[in-house]
């Protein structure tokens, strides 16, 4: 029991490290799209690790926590995609270092 609890605390701690890195990424990245990237991936893994940690501490919650994780894995990337798409449609500029924008090129072709 004590081993599981210790493992759970360790897993949760690693999760919070990834969440903190996501925050740092939001601050450091140069434009909207790269910020969305930093915000999506690290928060998804960070939250999943926090849920796994919770499942190790309270094993009887495992099924419900797994459902939450599944729900998160479907909705988190979806909201990021919609945000990125809305930003692109609204003409939010990408950083100057961006090499190509195939979407903008194709849209010009269609217009």
């Amino acid at each position: 029991m004590i081993v599981l609890t210790a493992l759970g605390v360790a897993t949760m701690s690693i999760g919070t490290v990834f969440l903190a890195l996501a925050g740092l990424g939001l601050r450091r990245m140069p434009d909207t799209y790269t910020r969305i990237q930093a915000g999506t991936k690290a928060t998804t893994l960070g939250t999943i690790l926090a849920l796994v940690g919770a499942a190790l501490i309270m094993p009887e919650w495992t099924v419900k926590l797994a459902l939450i994780a599944l729900f998160l894995m479907f909705t988190n990337p979806l909201s990021s995609q919609v945000l990125a798409r809305a930003a692109h449609r609204a003409g939010v500029p990408a950083t100057r270092e961006t090499r190509t924008d195939a979407l903008a090129e194709d849209k010009e072709g269609l217009a």
Partner: protein, 165 residues
């Protein structure tokens, strides 16, 4: 695929979801679940048929296991690479929006592909039109559609092709 079989699968999926949410094998829970899952299948089956595109075969089950394993491996890799970029004082980003092609037609398979791309190394799906996906890539290695498809899509597509019609 026959309509009856599609309805049975939809019923099974909604019923299983209900049972997981409740986490109890009591008779009243099962009865209410069967009733609600039955009503959903009967009244909304037409508009929810996309949920039952999942193939129930041995090959599909093996592909699912392979997909889940590959997905988690890529998710961890994605996080380590993002962490490395964020912690690097020089912030080595070479962003680009590239276009990639997918062969998948089933809507749920396409959703899973787009979501998987978003959660894996430095890529974010921005827009989807027919067979083309527009992907924002933090550290773009190539801007050629064919090469980008190989790098971003191929790993997931080979599993999803087997799992969905």
């Amino acid at each position: 695929m026959s309509d009856t079989f599609a309805s049975a699968k939809l019923f099974a999926i909604t019923f299983l979801f209900w049972m997981l949410l409740n986490g109890a094998l009591a008779l009243d829970v099962i009865l209410v679940g069967a009733l609600v899952a039955g009503a959903i299948t009967f009244f909304l089956g037409g508009s929810l048929h996309f949920l039952s595109g999942y193939r129930l075969t041995g090959a599909s089950a093996r592909a699912t296991v392979g997909y889940v394993g590959y997905f988690f491996k890529e998710l961890v890799k994605a996080n380590i690479s993002v962490a490395r970029v964020v912690l690097d004082p020089a912030l080595p980003v070479v962003p680009a929006i590239v276009k990639v092609r997918t062969r998948l037609r089933n809507p749920v398979a396409r959703l899973l592909l787009a979501n998987s791309i978003t959660l894996t190394p430095g890529t974010l799906t921005v827009e989807m039109t027919d067979e083309w996906l527009y992907v924002h890539w933090v550290v773009a290695r190539t801007t050629d559609p064919e090469a980008a498809t190989d790098a971003i899509v191929a790993g997931f597509e080979k599993y999803l092709e087997v799992m969905y019609d």
